[in-house]
């Protein structure tokens, strides 16, 4: 069931081989395009073959050398707006939508010299935790195609795990990067809210959405973070903060045992007691605890911490996310772009056109959330739902703030269980429970990553979540690099 590890080549490895002249950028792109062609996981919605080959052909190592990932391939979640390249957000309503502009992240990827292989499958409008709600068919877990790769960034996770692209970019609103990274056994990072521009990201919940990378290891993740991060004047919520050299930080730890030791010894790990209660799979629990023990054995201090409002986080998330979504998805009305459906009647009113277009264009889960959000914001219910959710959200933020007085990072499981069988979660509430450990992080706008920390007996990957204070991405990547080293040595 497990994919042969040796076939995987990381972006930083490709980079050194390409720039050394051992292999051409075009050959690398051809290699991946060949694999994509044979893909059975349905990871891609659109393959950008011609443009990718062209870009690879003109790649000049002499110029690209200075940029850490120039000349290597990437693939993008179909929620990232690409000029002239179909962007569907996994929805029928945008089935034929070709954007007139590039999102900021896409521009940064271009400027960084990365080569876009194509657009990746996802739950419709990023609403889902299994990759099953896409209008273009479900994404399959590469390790076991009867199972789900998680979601909503199902394609980005499955593409990296399935060796269809060395890195990819996804979005995370309540766990949509970390949960599929965990299911697929790859590294996935959700940056601090404001670290990466949201301009050109199809919005689900504006106060929670953030773009982040999927990668095979901490090094690639760090380099991708360096490429996409930074202030953007087109996004009023983006932060005017310097972007650290994440790649260098990871490199130093990898190359230098003394630095590794120093890092481990100074690391204070917080373990939230609320994250190890009922509902947590025993194998997941064991793997996560083993990882914590490994770090502890190497000098890290471990404290139990209290996140008292975590039990409300999922409810708060549900209200906030659907409310914002109900407004964000109002623009899909059949007027200016996207699907327009006209009912059969001879005389069609405006409302009928709206109803038909949105009725046909949106899938069941999207409709459910628009309805819930519209309800939560309605006069007479606003105070009980949206307003109350915002108040409790502030308590969740406070809880993290207090916890980080006692620790540098919070460690725990990314998800309560490993990947499940497709079609196995019919009840939406059961599906939402997948995100129980990840949503509090979005509510507080904090950075977090999920990294593989083991496998179940049946070979399914298990993910460990590392959460840090705002703009502590470097510490998270260093923690990830340290643990990768220790797990490698152990395994």
């Amino acid at each position: 069931m497990t994919l042969p590890r040796h076939e995987f080549t990381k972006s930083w490895e490709w980079k050194s081989r390409i720039d050394a002249g051992d292999i051409s950028a075009k050959a690398v792109v051809e290699e991946y395009l060949g694999r994509i062609e044979k893909d059975s996981t349905n990871s891609f919605i659109s393959v950008n073959a011609d443009a990718a080959l062209k870009a690879a052909e003109i790649y000049d190592p002499a110029i690209g050398k200075a940029k850490p990932l120039a000349g290597t391939p990437v693939a993008l979640k179909d929620a990232l707006i690409t000029k002239g390249l179909k962007t569907t957000a996994g929805s029928k309503i945008l089935e034929n939508y070709i954007p007139p502009y590039n999102g900021t992240v896409v521009t940064k990827v271009d400027d960084g010299g990365l080569i876009n292989l194509g657009k990746l499958n996802m739950d419709e409008f990023a609403m889902g935790s299994s990759g099953e709600s896409s209008a273009f068919g479900r994404t399959k877990l590469p390790q076991d195609e009867s199972r789900v790769p998680g979601g909503s960034s199902s394609g980005p996770a499955a593409a990296v795990a399935g060796n269809l692209s060395p890195i990819s970019l996804g979005t995370d609103t309540g766990g949509s990067i970390r949960q599929p990274a965990s299911f697929c056994g790859v590294v996935g990072m959700k940056p601090t809210y404001g670290r990466v521009s949201r301009y050109g990201v199809v919005a689900f919940a504006s106060s929670l959405d953030q773009v982040g990378p999927f990668a095979l290891d901490s090094m690639d993740c760090a380099l991708a973070m360096e490429t996409i991060s930074g202030f953007d004047e087109m996004d009023s919520t983006s932060a005017q903060m310097r972007v650290p050299a994440y790649g260098d930080a990871v490199q130093f730890l990898r190359e230098d045992a003394a630095r590794r030791e120093k890092f481990s010894k100074s690391l204070r790990i917080g373990i939230p007691k609320q994250y190890f209660k009922e509902g947590l799979d025993a194998e997941v629990r064991t793997s996560v605890e083993t990882s914590v023990e490994l770090l502890k054995f190497n000098g890290a201090s471990v404290v139990e911490i209290d996140l008292p409002h975590s039990e409300y986080a999922l409810a708060v998330y549900c209200v906030v996310a659907v409310s914002e979504a109900s407004a964000n998805l109002a623009r899909y009305d059949g007027v200016r772009f996207g699907l327009r459906e006209m009912p059969a009647e001879e005389k069609t009113s405006l409302d009928q056109m709206y109803e038909a277009s949105r009725g046909v264009g949106f899938g069941e889960e999207v409709k459910r959330r628009i309805l819930l959000g519209t309800f939560a914001l309605s006069s007479g219910y606003y105070d009980a739902y949206f307003k109350k959710a915002c108040q409790v959200r502030a308590l969740v933020v406070q809880g993290f703030h207090k916890a980080f007085k006692h620790c540098d990072v919070i460690l725990g499981p990314t998800t309560p269980t490993p990947s499940f069988v497709s079609g196995g979660k019919k009840d939406p509430l059961q599906m939402y429970l997948n995100d129980i450990y990840t949503v509090p992080v979005n509510l507080a706008g904090l950075p977090a990553l999920s990294m593989p920390c083991g496998e179940t007996k049946s070979g399914l990957p298990i993910g460990l979540q590392v959460v840090g204070p705002a703009f502590s991405e470097q510490v998270l990547l260093e923690t990830c690099a340290s643990l990768e080293f220790l797990l490698d040595k152990k395994g």
Binding site: I81, P99, R198, D235, T237, A327, R331, Y332, S379
Partner: protein
């Protein structure tokens, strides 16, 4: 000044006004698209104002500056923190499906204005009225409904607006209009709104209710939407007052609803009732952080605020010595005031004479041609020049009237017209003397009567001489010479 508001068949009316004023910034409120009127449809648009997926709003700093200036000019308190909210509703000319507006925390509150007006008996009266709040929002696009289909133009979508909400302080249509005119002038003076009502720069909604005299609680109100001329506001309110009184006196109840004014029939019609009223589901805009304003910046804007109309009028009275009434009329319109000031500069220090021309002939011409001072074919400098010609005795006041008409028609300068038409005044005694003798000779009967003591006839002779000389003779010389010749 003991103003008593009017009573309408035993009722009084309570009116509150909401004004939408477009801010005259170069670009839109949340995007870099041009904010300009009259271009071909859907030219001034970009991914942000067409609400392409993934686009985000970025607040226009200039629009905030203009809103703060408007707030300061209307004596509002500017809030150090204000919040943008989404107002959700579906319409094809609202690209995002929500309008970004302000709801809980507007940019400014608690303003007031002193209004001046003539009461129902034509007596001058003044009153202080409150401004509840000013908030910022974006305008929608425009829809045109054709047979079987509709067209949408998004050029206007995203244009910055301020909504200025008054307290329900008005008790008559004329108070409401006085307030609107005052507000219009203030926004123009603050240089934040062009105030062109035809282009929809300045639009008004009126909330009107009536109650029997003596009743404390307010009556049920109706809202009249989007009236875009002062005259129509007055007429619409007046109609609505009597309509509501009619309903109540007929034993009915006033329904809370939105009504539209039909200017052709001078009536208001129901547009939608409260039951159909939309639930806008306001919530704070997650794409924009709260707007925080530096108190020092507000202070700077306050200091740099252009002169207000009232101050300008006072200055005109004090420095230029024109009557208070003239000063008020001239400063009522900022462009007119600038025109006047410029004309004075070219008049060789004759502010009063220039004021007479502006108050009289210029305003008459504007009214006749239904045009604005900005469109005047006569340049301010040329009006000043005309006054110089009169003062210097080059032309008589009478000739000046014809020169003025020519100036209006041709746009030429007065000296050119005087030159071309040979209108320069005649000062030569010999020339005038000849005409005087001829006129007296031709009117022996009148000459006899004059000599017999009927000195009123002097005017008759002056008129005849002037007529003969086509108005060019110097009036003083004519007077003098007639008297001399008739005595001899």
């Amino acid at each position: 000044m003991n103003y008593q508001p009017p009573v309408y068949n035993g009722f009084e009316t309570v009116i509150g006004l909401e004004v939408h004023a477009q801010l005259s910034t170069n670009s839109k409120l949340f995007s870099s698209s041009p904010n300009s009127y009259g271009d071909a449809p859907n030219r001034n648009i970009n991914p942000v104002c067409t609400a392409q997926p993934g686009t985000l709003p970025v607040l226009n700093r200039k629009a905030v500056e203009f809103a703060v200036k408007a707030a300061l000019a209307t004596n509002c308190v500017v809030n150090p923190v204000s919040v943008f909210s989404r107002k959700n509703y579906f319409y094809p000319d609202l690209p995002k499906g929500y309008q970004i507006s302000q709801f809980d925390l507007p940019i400014a509150e608690h303003g007031k204005l002193e209004i001046e007006f003539e009461d129902q008996d034509g007596k001058p009266a003044t009153k202080e009225v409150g401004i509840t709040r000013i908030h910022m929002e974006e305008d929608a696009g425009k829809s045109a409904h054709m047979a079987g289909y509709s067209l949408v133009d998004l050029n206007r979508a995203g244009t910055p607006l301020i909504e200025i909400v008054s307290e329900p302080d008005f008790r008559s249509p004329f108070e409401a209009v006085a307030y609107l005119k005052k507000l219009h002038s203030i926004l123009q003076y603050a240089e934040v709104c062009d105030g062109n009502m035809q282009e929809g720069n300045f639009r008004c909604d009126a909330n009107i209710s009536v109650r029997p005299i003596g009743q404390k609680e307010l009556g049920t109100r109706a809202e009249i939407k989007n009236v875009n001329s002062f005259r129509f506001v007055e007429k619409a309110i007046e109609y609505e007052i009597y309509r509501q009184i009619g309903v109540l006196q007929g034993g009915g109840t006033v329904v809370q609803e939105t009504r539209l004014y039909d200017s052709a029939k001078n009536i208001t019609n129901s547009m939608r009732s409260k039951e159909d009223a939309m639930d806008y589901r306001y919530f704070s805009e997650p794409d924009l952080p709260p707007l925080r304003l530096d108190p020092e910046w507000i202070q700077e804007l306050s200091k740099a605020l252009p002169e207000r109309a009232d101050d300008k009028a006072k200055r005109f009275v004090a420095e230029l010595g024109i009557p208070e009434y003239d000063a008020k009329v001239i400063t009522g319109d900022k462009t007119l005031a600038s025109f006047y000031e410029e004309a004075v500069q070219y008049s060789e220090n004759s502010p009063k004479l220039v004021s007479n021309w502006v108050m009289g002939d210029i305003l008459r011409k504007l009214k006749e041609t239904e045009s604005e001072i900005a469109d005047s074919p006569i340049k301010a400098a040329d009006l000043g020049g005309l006054v110089v010609l009169i003062n210097g005795g080059k032309i008589s006041s009478k000739i000046a009237k014809t020169v003025f008409e020519d100036m209006w028609d041709t746009g030429k300068s007065p000296s050119v017209i005087v030159e071309e038409k040979g209108l320069t005044q005649v000062f030569d005694e010999g020339t005038i003397h000849k005409v005087v003798e001829a006129v007296i000779e031709a009117n022996p009967k009148q000459a006899e009567e004059y000599r017999g003591g009927k000195e009123k006839l002097l005017g008759f002779f002056v008129g005849q001489v002037m007529k003969e000389m086509k108005g060019k003779g110097n009036p003083e010389l004519i007077n003098k010479l007639i008297k001399e010749v008739l005595k001899s």
